[in-house]
Every structure is written in structure tokens, then in C-alpha cells.
């Protein structure tokens, strides 16, 4: 185990600086799950998540929110909207 850890540390240390810079920090408040990558790539190019991280609503309401973003210029496919709505409904669904 110690050898494996040392090897991993070594890999990290020799990682080229450019590659290290490309590693984006994980988005706080967004646990991994299906649809997260689509959400992060599509939503964060326009605004920070600060505003809507406070929102708790069911999947259908999230879907409506996402379609309103289409009205504001977002160019997403129906499938991408479905994936994001699934994710948000799951992670930021209505509090029980």
C-alpha cells in the first residue's frame, strides 16, 4: 500500500504544469451524478451557481427553469435539458 501511495504521489509531482492547470476544482454543492457534467458545462459559462443553489423545487419545475434559460439564449438540446432536469430534481429537489 505504501508503495502504491508513493507511486501516486510521484505521478502527481511529475504531472506537467499545463495539465495540472487544466484540472478544474470540483464545483462545490454539486455532487457527482448523471447529468452533472452537462449542467456544469452548460450553465456555468454564463453565471455563477450562487443564485439558484438556493432553489429547491421538483424536477418538472427545474425543467421549466431550464426552458426559460433557452428563452434567454441558451442553446441546448432536449436531451441535455432532460439530463440537467434529472440531476437538479435529484440534487436540488423539493425538501421533504
Amino acid at each position: 500500500m505504501l508503495k502504491l501511495l508513493a507511486a501516486l504521489v510521484g505521478v502527481t509531482l511529475v504531472m506537467p504544469p499545463a495539465l495540472a492547470q487544466q484540472k478544474k476544482p470540483a464545483a462545490a454543492g454539486f455532487p457527482d451524478g448523471p447529468g452533472k457534467d452537462v449542467l456544469v458545462s452548460k450553465c456555468f459559462q454564463c453565471h455563477s451557481p450562487n443564485m439558484w443553489m438556493d432553489q429547491r423545487q421538483d424536477r418538472r419545475a427545474w425543467e421549466s427553469t431550464l426552458y426559460r434559460m433557452v428563452g434567454r439564449g441558451a442553446l441546448w438540446t432536449e436531451d441535455e435539458i432532460r439530463q440537467m432536469a434529472d440531476y437538479l430534481g435529484n440534487v436540488y429537489g423539493r425538501k421533504q
Binding site: Q45, C46, H47, S48, N50, M51, W52, M53, D54, Q55, R60, E63, S64, T65, Y67, R68, V70, G71, R72, G73, A74, L75, W76, T77, E78, I81
Partner: protein
């Protein structure tokens, strides 16, 4: 008698009227004829100047009116001012000057600005001293931000003989109040300097880059009798339509041709220079995608296959396509920055073509500056590109154009997905539904005046080349929409004009509805009424995420209900027929009635009930518990 002679010399009256006037004044017919003969050479000399110069004798206000006509003014917008009595007196015999009484200076100035923007013709907006001026200054601010060549005038209520005595409308150094938001602000120092002051204001306003100007003088100068020279605008206009530096043009052409992916941003200088066709030509030559950040007008046909849409978050990086332009050319866009991040990143080379050199190079570093009237600039650049064009460049441009066209068509389909919102048919309506209903209703060449700040338009396919036109706002002083729409309709009576306005904006400036009714300006006004300030609601939450406001649902600043405002009743109070629409079906029917009303020459207003959507809106929003009822001890 002297005034009669002056009017004859200035060709304000005919030879026959002059003769009649002399005899009425007691001069014998023979003597009158002698006077006429003696004056004819002078009159001819003035006529030979093409009417460019006139010697006017009369009150200061009459000289003011004469200079306005010489400056090309047809409409005068103003609010009642007793100190302008002699100006109103001068209007009686000068029907060429049409005075439009506006019941509030703010919407009045917005109406004047709308007229200027839609007609390209000069006008002046008059206020009563500083008390009226400060009401108009919100729209003066907008005109400054939007570079609208609008001339403002207000007298100083203190008379020259008793200034500085704390008069009830008096403030010291009145003309200095407006200086940060005008190109020129000046006080005429004598009554005979009124025409000179006025024509200088018009010259400064109408010399690019355009902007508002302000002229003022002591009110008693309007009453004083003087002799002054009046000069037509064409004798003062420096005609500042400059061509770009040829060496820089060649550099720009080479850069664009060698680019892997050039991108063009267009802006309002393109519309103002009537250079839309030239922008299209350059884009087509290079197979270059085109976008536009926030501006007043749509400056490129949105139906054109090279149009890639507006960047959703203003920055070019928020565009879906192209993702990595290596050369960006801006043609006539001021590039308003509302955040610290430059709209054009440092990576691509940047060519900036504008007449407004003062705002170039302030935020975005320049690789090629092209200071020019953009119509000339586009002509010269297109010519330079054509000279350097080779079959290989042509092939590259054609391949790129095909790629852009493919994105354009895909994006069109994706934008229409807005109609798949699961709440599309709800009542009260989604703002998007109201927008799309109006887009489907509007004439193919409708003019859309848009002051619904939180609403993004879609589905209109704006095309300033004989299609639908957009008049948005660039300065953020609210209350301009209704007035602007009235001014636009005044300038373009044969075009359908639709005003889209938020409820918050509407209540800042509804008085121009009365002008629509009185002047028979058949504008359709649609109010997006969600009984709230949506924009401030969202932005406050973004600034204080998860804060006490969100936790408690207590927002002090955004809810306009309890009681709800009825915009239809407000409109009726101004003489405009109106109704409330709660659902898509009601809206569609209301639009039909609006069309019928406007065909009959009458304005119409629809109060469209819109849902409050977004974070932390409650069904019945909390309002601060301020009620005086519990404090009253008497039933009065």
C-alpha cells in the same frame, strides 16, 4: 415697424403682406412701395445665400424659434412654462414649428429621443427651469449613454436683474448640473446670443459621436427685443464622416483574410450610418460569423445564415459558436461592460472600427484601430479585402460560411425549444409565452420598442433591412419605453409600433400614453405585469446566496403587489383603450382587438399578467408590516 421689416427681409412674410402691413401701420401706399423697392436688393442678397443666413429682429424667443427652424427642427417637445410665454407667442405665426405638450418632462424627453432615433431628424425638448430639467435628466442620462443627438433647453428662472435671490425655482449655476452627461452645456450671456447658443447646441449634438446638449439663458432674455443673426445648420455642420487610416485598413484586411476563425461584432453605429448592407457584404466576403452585444438596435439581419446570435452573458466566451475566434472585428459597438471581465478576451487579435474614438482602447487592447464613420470604414475595408483576396482565401471563406450556416440553422431549431416549456400554457403566463405570442402577431416590418428589462426577446427575427426593427435601451434610467414608442410612431407613422414594457418600467413613465391618445399615435403597448421587480429580486439573491432574505422569504425591495396595480385602468385614465389578459388565449384575443384599434388610428394597451418565477418567490409574497391603521386615533 422694425419687426415688419425684419420679417420681410427674413422672408417670413410676402411682399404683399409687407405692403399691407405698412399701410395698416399708417404709411401711405406710395411711401410703402418706395420702402419695398429700397429693401428689395437687401432681400435678394439674403435670398442669394440660399436662406442660410437671416437677420431676425424680434424678441429673444422669436430669435430662438427662427434658429430652431434654421436648425431643421419640425417638432418641439415641451412641458408648460410660463417664462417661455414669448416662445409660445412666436409659435402662433410659425406653424412650421409643431409644439407637442408632454405632461411630464421624463417621458417627454423619451418621446423626443424616440423621434430623433427613428427619424434621424433634429428636435429640441424644453423644460421649465431647473425644476423641469431635473425631471428630464433621467432621459438625458439615457441619451448620453445611447449617444442620441438630442438638444435640451430650459431657461433660468432667475432673471438677469434679480439673480441669486433665492427665487422659488432658482438654483445657482444651473447649466453646470448637466455637464457630466452632455457634450455641450452653455448659458447665453445676452439675449442676442440666443440663436448662436442654440445652433452651437445642435452642431455639437449632431457631430459624431452624437450626444445630448443643453442650452439655457435667463428667462427675461426671451422677452427682450433684439436683432440677431440666424444661420442654417448646413453652414455649421463639419460633416464629420471620416475615412479610416489606409495603412490600418490594409493591416485589418490582411489579418481578417489570414484568420482561422474571424468574428464580427456589430453595433449601433452601423444602424446610424445606414451601413447594414455593407456589414453584410464584408461578412459574406469572409464567410465570417456575426454577433452583437447589448445595443439599442438590431444591426444585422438575424435571419442571415452568418448570424450566430447574441452572447447570452455579454462576453464572447458565452457564445456557443464560434468558441475560439482568433480575430475579432468590432464595427460600431460601444461594448458596454457591466463586469470586470473584458467582453473580448485577450487571446484573439482585436480590430476596432468606430467613430467614437474616446471609448476605444479603454478596456480591450487594440491590434488595429480604425477610427471612421463605419459606412466609409466598411467600404474601405471591403475594398482592401477584395484586393488581397486569392482563390485560396475564397475557398477558405466559403468552407467557413458553410460551417457557420450549419450552426445558424441548428441554433434556430434549438431556440424554438422555448415553446416546449412544460408551463407553456399556464396562467398567469410565462414571460416567454407573451413574447412569442407578440412575435407571432407582429407585422413583418413592425418596430419593437423594448423596455422589459428582465425579458429576453426571441422569435422576432429582427432584420433592419426592411424587416422588423428593434429599439432597445442602453442607459438604465427606467421609464423610457412608452415615450420612446410614441416618438417612434410620430417619426414612422406607417409602421406598426409595439411597445414591450415591464410593469416596473411602465409605472415610471406612462404619461406618454396621453400623447398617443391626443396625437392619434396608434401604438400597441404590452405590459409584462408580474407585479414585481424581477431583475432586482434575482440579483439580490445572487449577491447574498443563502442569506437571511432567502431563509425567511423577506424581500423588502421587489414585490409590487398588495394591492396589485392595474395598468389597463391607468391607460384608460390617459384616454387609451386597454384590457387585462390573464392567459395565452386572452392575450391572443386582446392582440386581435389591439390590431383593430390601431387600424382605426387608436392606441391600445394590454396588461399581460405574467407569473413570478425564479428562486424564493412565494405565492403571496411577504410585504413589510407597515400599516398606519393601528396608529390612527381619529376616523379622518
Amino acid at each position: 415697424m422694425r419687426e415688419l421689416v425684419a420679417r420681410f427681409l427674413s422672408q417670413s412674410i410676402s411682399r404683399r403682406t409687407f405692403l399691407k402691413g405698412l399701410t395698416t401701420a399708417g404709411v401711405s401706399l406710395t411711401a410703402a412701395k418706395d420702402i419695398v423697392e429700397a429693401l428689395v436688393p437687401t432681400a435678394h442678397a439674403q435670398a442669394a445665400s440660399g436662406g442660410a443666413y437671416k437677420l431676425v429682429e424680434g424678441t429673444g424667443a422669436e430669435c430662438f424659434a427662427e434658429q430652431l427652424m434654421a436648425s431643421g427642427v419640425k417638432y418641439v417637445f415641451g412641458n408648460s412654462a410660463s417664462e417661455d410665454a414669448h416662445f409660445y407667442e412666436a409659435l402662433v405665426d410659425r406653424p412650421q414649428l409643431k409644439y407637442i405638450l408632454t405632461p411630464h418632462e421624463g417621458p417627454g424627453a423619451a418621446m423626443a429621443a424616440g423621434y430623433v432615433k427613428a427619424s434621424g431628424e433634429p428636435t429640441i425638448v424644453m423644460q421649465a427651469a431647473v425644476v423641469g430639467l431635473v425631471n428630464a435628466m433621467g432621459q438625458m442620462f439615457n441619451a448620453y449613454k445611447e449617444q442620441t443627438p438630442l438638444v435640451f433647453y430650459s431657461y433660468r428662472t432667475d432673471q438677469s436683474g434679480r439673480a441669486g435671490r433665492d427665487g422659488f425655482e432658482e438654483v445657482a449655476n444651473q447649466e453646470q448640473i448637466v455637464q457630466p452627461m452632455t457634450k455641450y452645456a452653455w448659458l447665453a450671456r445676452r439675449a442676442d446670443m440666443i440663436p448662436e447658443t442654440v445652433r452651437r447646441a445642435f452642431k455639437a449634438a449632431w457631430t459624431p459621436p452624437y450626444g445630448p446638449t443643453y442650452a439655457s439663458w435667463h428667462s427675461d432674455y426671451n422677452d427682450e427685443r433684439v436683432r440677431a443673426e440666424v444661420i442654417s445648420h448646413e453652414k455649421l455642420d463639419p460633416r464629420m464622416r471620416v475615412r479610416p487610416n489606409p495603412a490600418e485598413v490594409d493591416r485589418a484586411a490582411k489579418m481578417l483574410l489570414e484568420a482561422r476563425m474571424p468574428l464580427m461584432i456589430v453595433g449601433d453605429e452601423v444602424y446610424n450610418a445606414k451601413a447594414i448592407g455593407k456589414a453584410v457584404k464584408l461578412a459574406e466576403l469572409l464567410g465570417m460569423p456575426v454577433t452583437q452585444a447589448r445595443q439599442i438596435y438590431a444591426n444585422f439581419p438575424e435571419t442571415h445564415p452568418l448570424w450566430v446570435g447574441n452572447p447570452p452573458a455579454a462576453r464572447l466566451t458565452s457564445l456557443d459558436y464560434p468558441k475560439n475566434p482568433d480575430v475579432v472585428i468590432n464595427v460600431g459597438n460601444k461594448l458596454q461592460h457591466n463586469s470586470v471581465v473584458p467582453m473580448v478576451a485577450r487571446d484573439p487579435k482585436f480590430i476596432d472600427m468606430r467613430i467614437d474614438s474616446a471609448s476605444m482602447g479603454n478596456i480591450i487592447a487594440l491590434d488595429v484601430p480604425l477610427v471612421a464613420d463605419v459606412a466609409y470604414g466598411l467600404d474601405d475595408l471591403t475594398g482592401a479585402v477584395l484586393q488581397l483576396m486569392t482563390p485560396a482565401f475564397k475557398q477558405k471563406a466559403a468552407a467557413r460560411a458553410e460551417e457557420v450556416r450549419s450552426f445558424h440553422e441548428r441554433a434556430r431549431g434549438l431556440r424554438d425549444l422555448v415553446m416546449k416549456n412544460p408551463d407553456w400554457n399556464r396562467a398567469p403566463m410565462l414571460a416567454d409565452r407573451v413574447t412569442r405570442e407578440v412575435a407571432q402577431f407582429a407585422d413583418p416590418d413592425a418596430i419593437i420598442v423594448h423596455e422589459a428589462g428582465s425579458v429576453a426577446l426571441h422569435g422576432f427575427d429582427f432584420n433592419p433591412q426592411n424587416g422588423r426593427e428593434l429599439f432597445f435601451y442602453y442607459g438604465a434610467h427606467l421609464g423610457s419605453g412608452v415615450g420612446t414608442a410614441a416618438g417612434v410612431k410620430l417619426a414612422r407613422p406607417d409602421r406598426q409600433v409595439i411597445c414591450l414594457v415591464g410593469d416596473g418600467s411602465f409605472v415610471f413613465g406612462p404619461t406618454a400614453l396621453w400623447n398617443m391618445a391626443r396625437l392619434e399615435l396608434p401604438v400597441i403597448t404590452v405590459v409584462y405585469n408580474n407585479h414585481a421587480y424581477s431583475g432586482p429580486h434575482s440579483r439580490v439573491i445572487e449577491k447574498v446566496p443563502g442569506g437571511r432574505m432567502v431563509q425567511t422569504g423577506r424581500f423588502f425591495h421587489d414585490y409590487l403587489g398588495n394591492p396589485d396595480m392595474n395598468m389597463a385602468l391607468i391607460a384608460r385614465g390617459f384616454g387609451v383603450e386597454a384590457e387585462v389578459a390573464r392567459s395565452p388565449e386572452e392575450l391572443r384575443a386582446a392582440l386581435g382587438r389591439a390590431r383593430k384599434a390601431t387600424m382605426d388610428g387608436k392606441p391600445y394597451l394590454i396588461d399581460a399578467q405574467v407569473a413570478r418565477v425564479g428562486v424564493a418567490w412565494a405565492e403571496n409574497p411577504w410585504t413589510p408590516p407597515i400599516r398606519v391603521a393601528g396608529e390612527r386615533t381619529r376616523k379622518v
